[in-house]
Amino acid sequence: MLTVNHLIFLSAILFSIGAVGVLVRRNPLIMFMSIELMLNAVNLAFVAFARYLQNLDGQVFVFLILTVAAAEVAVGLAIIVALFRQRETIDVDEASILKG
């Protein structure tokens, strides 16, 4: 029987994979995909809680989060493309003029 605990555990694992992905990968596109994985882990948690609590709010939040994530993609990819045009590389370790 699949209980809310299993689902939250799964969402915590997905979230952690995403977080580690952001921290260890150096390509902004992959980092970005990892962030999306984190957001979807949140969505899973919301749906699981909504079902457990018999309360539809959580399911509605998922739609809001999906919309925000789509807006984030638009902005993020635009910045990455602009950077690539300037520099012909998008590796974040090479994006290091600013430091100190």
Partner: protein, 476 residues
Amino acid sequence: MSLSVPDLNLRIIAPVLIVAISALVVLLGELVTSSAQKRGLGYASLVGLLAAGGAAMGLWDAHAVAFREMVRADNFGVFLTLTILAGAVLCILLSFDFTRAHRIETGEYYALILFSVTGMLLMVTAADLIIIFLALELLSLPLYILAAFKREDERSLEAGLKYFLLGAFSSAFFLYGIALVYGATGTTNLARIAASAPSEMLLIGAGLLLVGFAFKVALVPFHWWTPDVYEGAPTTITAFMSVAVKAAAFGAFLRAFLVALPALAMDWRVVLAIIAVLTMTLGNVAALLQANIKRMLAYSSIAHAGYILIALVAMGGAGVSAALFYLLAYTLTNLGAFGAVIALGEGERERLNVSDYGGLARMQPLLAAMLTVFMLSLAGFPPFAGFVGKFLIFGAAVQNGWAWLAVVGVLNSLVSVYFYLRPVVAMYMSEPVEGWGAPRVAPLVALALVLALIGVIALGVFPAPAIALAAGGLGR
């Protein structure tokens, strides 16, 4: 099952709506204006911001909730709304000549600032975690673009990319915190969270919310994006981010923790006290080492976030009103300091190194005096606004039994005097540097500086009215 129409009280969100509509108008205006007319779009945004300010004043003492308790008009929110609007108005005044000199004078620039302000205003009126999240994103997305707005400048793009990746990363943590709070309590409404029994899951959720807020207001250990982003972004945007984002995020931070999570105060007060000590100390010590004035002001903004956090740790009415007053004082002072940096720029060149400020007292005595006032206010010298702000915060800490935290804060202020006075010393005691002409200050920049200066001195000499307005406004 029945469907009920939610209470659509548009008056409560009138300031938010006015700014959103002016953003759309400016965005459309971009299509029909020639490049010589872009300045008009800036004036249009100023009109929108001032109208929103008028609408916000109409909400004073309204004490109302609307949209199924999703937003709340209380004096706390109105005070911060006016603070944010003041910051935005000053930022736009500084932008007119800056954007022309840096060839980024477009309607989108103003529209994005207005969209970001929309998010900020919504954030300080939100009474529900989901609205706080949506407002946070509405605030952040335009700022990611604005940070990268100088598209041909690699520094600006790099700042935008870093801000974007870390901002998106932190909002994921914030969201997971909301999910856990929702799972623990069955609601995301701040007042109803407070009414439900504390549990371990609620505590973990509160911790993740803290991570999200800490990123936005730049608290140690979530501060490392700040210097890079502040250095790379166009200076007007840096000025705007350093004050308005802080006011909005601290507004939601205070509201979320004081309204929704007072039951867990035993747990989070100690954690926040430790973070406050680390943030103040690291911010001030790192600022000592900076030669670039934008990086120095970035670390100084980290330190100021630490001071404001003391007010949250102190809790109670004294803590809240101290935080509000401090945010207002900091907004005017920091915009003034950045405004002076902007005023001293020459075309696309800016005086970014402390040594570039040599001899300015002789070439521009008024501007040098103004920058001195702003630096002294940031350091917390009387009779300027920064002093009263620090006095209120440390007073609230002592009053609520956190005297040791106040002592750490005072010691930190002493350290900060050294780096705030470095440009002042350069201006008054060094010889002028080669390669710089005498700066010419544009009238609108001068207007912004004078407004900020009046605010800083007025809040410092006659703080009583502002303190009274900041007191006791947090609705539950």
